[in-house]
Symmetry: C2
């Protein structure tokens, strides 16, 4: 398995989980959260899946494709361990979905990020809302693992329901 | 088709073309060229496909994962429109494969890059060598288009044989 194989599997798993979440959520009301805008590819997919919902985006800076930029009212700019807290104060536990692609290249940096951000995600979600994450959030309270779509290998992506 | 869909299709097309090239080239002797190291995913795949060949990498800087870094003897660092010329002088028309992922986000920047780099690729290849590119190189002399692998949509990736 090369790194090219791995990224293809990861992106396909991400897409499958997002598509399944759109089905699962149906008409449940609430905004969507994108933790990490990056180049904006996943944001673009979220816009497609959730055309009628507000999508709030969190990132340190806006480095996405010009076509994939949220308006300033839907952008929490800065360190996510701070902006997630700010967002919880402003929005309350309102979101129906948070997608969090929070892994780095290195295992240690990823672990630090998961520890820093994991506990700050559940307070943003309403009961029954979903979290889709590239990293395991099993250790954090308030989130129950859900089965993955059948085409996603266990461990490749993670889906949780807010208790 | 979202940008997430597009990148998945592009990466799968890239992988299919590279895998097919490894089959086509068989034991034909010569090094492999990777134009654009990026995060090193494709380089990692090339190492897997061509374990016994030299792989020379061209990029402005090394920003790849630490596991995916060529040694300095196989790295042409700097602006590619210059390093491709330097490499042609040093290596001659020796390569059996050049993989070139030379598109940018914007169409104009991509066009400038294709115009700048396209003519500098054929002099690096031996007759019968292959060029695999995310952009069309149809306009450049010395390259004949080859059929794509059956799972690759026309236009998604491009394969040429050096005349």
């Amino acid at each position: 398995m090369t790194r090219l194989d791995t990224v293809i599997k990861r992106l396909m798993a991400q897409r499958s989980c997002l598509n399944a979440a759109a089905e699962t959520l149906g008409n449940m009301a609430g905004p969507v959260l994108e933790l990490g805008l990056g180049n904006g590819r996943t944001y673009d997919h979220l816009r497609f899946l959730f055309p009628d919902r507000e999508i709030f985006v969190f990132d340190r800076e806006v480095a996405s494709h010009p076509d994939c930029r949220p308006d300033p009212e839907h952008l929490f700019l800065g360190a996510m361990q701070e902006t997630l807290v700010t967002a919880a104060e402003q929005l309350g536990p309102a979101a129906v979905l948070a997608h969090a692609d929070i892994g780095f290249g290195g295992a240690e940096a990823t672990e630090r990020n998961v520890v820093a951000l994991g506990p700050k995600i559940p307070p943003l979600l309403k009961s029954g809302g979903l979290v889709i994450c590239d990293q395991s959030l099993d250790r954090f309270e308030g989130l129950s693992p859900l089965p993955l779509p059948p085409d996603v290998e266990p461990g490749r992506y993670h889906v949780y329901r807010r208790d």
